[in-house]
């Protein structure tokens, strides 16, 4: 199957997935208890007329199907609707907030890939005490939820040592990088541990394979064998965790952004859920689904580059 056909097929699949996701997201908000109207009134008793006015303004009284398809129609025109809480276009809100989240996730991803691969590789190559130390450390990292890591990092590096700010996003690129360092570390910690362990065990498995002995028997230096054969062959296994890593980053960024007061879409999502801001929650959820699918597509496209035995397209039934 060639690249173009594969791409088109995947785009079609993505469209269907997005449609299904939109239905689930919309339905979930509809089923959840409470309504935007009651939140807007925040406990005050309102006259039936006022309540009806709000409901009419946001079309809250229409049947489910009508509301869903109206929303879907707007989406197709690039219109995410208006935020009930912020009284502005949701697309404006997203455009304002998305950069900090993307920067935060990107920084965390760089940390995860750099530290995770390096630690895993060192553990597998060195073995012995180094291996045990890395195993224990990564076990600790894997066992620490990101919000706990956030509180610990804040307490130590922001409150005690004053190396980094305790919260906020900062203005300008340099300030943003500085403000987002601790959140990125908090977000990355668990995944660094996970990726290090995956890399280590994948490399240990390759180490036991005959072609590694053969390469050594031909005089290829051990260091080169580790890179060209062991690490190289472990990459396929490592790559399969790529989708999982990015989805975990997107989910955990909600907690970390709230803990550090980073004004990204994660924090916005949390606030919007508590305020029953339907359009905003729906838009953010759908954006995250879209991002996740793009990453999965990238991982699938990268796979044949890492492993020539894998062809693009669905697995053949007989082989």
């Amino acid at each position: 199957m060639n690249f173009l056909r594969f791409g088109l097929r995947r785009l079609a699949e993505m469209a269907v997935t997005l449609l299904a996701a939109s239905f689930v997201i919309f339905g979930a908000m509809y089923l959840a208890p409470g309504s935007p109207a009651s939140f807007l009134l925040s406990g005050r008793s309102a006259s039936p007329a006022a309540l009806e006015a709000i409901n009419r303004q946001y079309h809250l009284d229409d049947p489910f199907a009508v509301r869903y398809f109206r929303w879907l129609g707007q989406l197709l025109h690039g219109d995410f609707g208006r935020s009930i809480t912020y009284r502005t276009d949701v697309s404006r809100l997203l455009a304002d907030r998305l950069p900090s989240t993307l920067l935060l996730v990107a920084m965390a991803l760089v940390l995860v890939v750099a530290a995770g691969l390096a630690l895993g590789r060192i553990a597998a190559v060195r073995g012995g005490a180094v291996d045990s130390t890395i195993l224990v450390t990564t076990t600790l990292a894997v066992g620490t939820p990101s919000f706990v890591a956030a509180v610990l990092l804040q307490g130590l590096f922001a409150v005690r040592l004053h190396w980094f700010p305790a919260g906020g996003t900062g203005d300008g690129p340099v300030q943003m990088l500085w403000h987002l360092t601790l959140p990125a570390v908090a977000l990355a910690l668990y995944l660094i541990g996970m990726l290090a362990r995956v890399t280590r065990s994948a490399m240990v498995e390759v180490l036991g394979q005959e072609h590694v002995t053969v390469a050594l028997s031909r005089g290829v230096p051990r260091r080169k064998v580790m890179g060209r054969h062991v690490f190289r062959n472990a990459l396929g296994t490592v790559l399969t965790t790529g989708g999982l890593i990015v989805s975990t980053l997107l989910v955990c960024t909600v907690l970390v952004e709230s803990a550090f007061g980073v004004g990204g879409i994660g924090q916005l999502l949390e606030l919007s859920i508590t305020t029953k801001d339907f359009p905003t929650v729906q838009a953010i959820s759908l954006t995250m689904v879209g991002l996740f699918m793009l990453i999965n597509l990238a991982v699938d496209l990268a796979h044949p580059l890492v492993d020539p035995r894998i062809a693009l397209g669905p697995r053949r039934s007989a082989a």
Binding site: Q209, E210, H211, T213, V214, A215, L216, S217, R218, G219, V220, P221, K224, R228, H229, R232, N233, G236, V306, D307, P308, R309
Partner: protein
Amino acid sequence: MNTQEKHASCASTGSVTASPVLDIRGLRLRLPRTARPVLDGVDLTVAAGETVALVGESGSGKTLTSRSVLRLLPPGAGTEGAVRVAGEDVLTMSAARLRALRTGTAAMIFQDPRAAINPLRRIGDFLTESLRLNTGTSAEEAERRAGELLVAVGLAPAVMRQYPGQLSGGMLQRVMIAAALMGDPALLLADEATTALDVTTQAEVVALLGDLRDRFGTGLLFVTHDLGLAATISDRVYVMYAGRIVEAGPADALFARPRHPYTAALLAATPRLDAPQGRLNAIDGQPPDLKAELTGCPFAPRCVHATGICTEQAPEDRAVTAAPDGREHRVACHHSDRVTGSADHG
């Protein structure tokens, strides 16, 4: 039998002059948690241009012996004795010398080419990596040599751009052989190099190895459990049992008149086309366990000729007859005179 002619031609190229390319002296190898050495005083030589077969059952130590030539030892292995390749002791040389030896002087052809070649790298990369990374040979030069050797083993140079998964097992073993020849070695070690191949491919690969040995003048140590193959390809044969060489001699003499009961029993257990039998004469019993000490002859418990002395005293290795051209036939058995030939068995 045309093997007779083959031996004659081999004998002319494989004269036992000068110093051997491989000279194993009293090699003893111990593994952790075993009661006796896995290799127990192995002596073996291969001359330049000579083909030597090392035969024995699985577990007899023949693969360990060939791997020790490249110092590919199991973890925790302790060694005594010497393994000299082109005059240098492999067991004591520096890591840098060892790499040089592995790149140039000696090379091994492994049993299963599908497992021995990294499936994620191109054939060309496999062929050239050792030279490029160790000798400073340029990529173009290494590729040129790889192309020539691929032609020499009967493949098109274009396979260099392919991945192992795109080639058949036979083609991959040819690639393996070409890779072994890249460093222009004085010694080739073939460890069950044809066992994983089907019979036709096996014959092709064996013929190819013979041709290459004649053309490049390399010594060839052919490790196999296939006696018929050993008889066809080799000038001299070593028979190994429980980590010891029990019999060694010119292939024709050894197969015509084996002097060790184990060799005779192995020959009797080999299926033959020219003498159909109802059933094969399997050797009763099991090879000795590594967990138990050995006194006397390791084969005694399974031997039809065994007497009291066999279980008490290990037989010395001694010459039985010297072939007219001076090649010795040696055996380690107290009762080698009682062993009758195998050619007329059944």
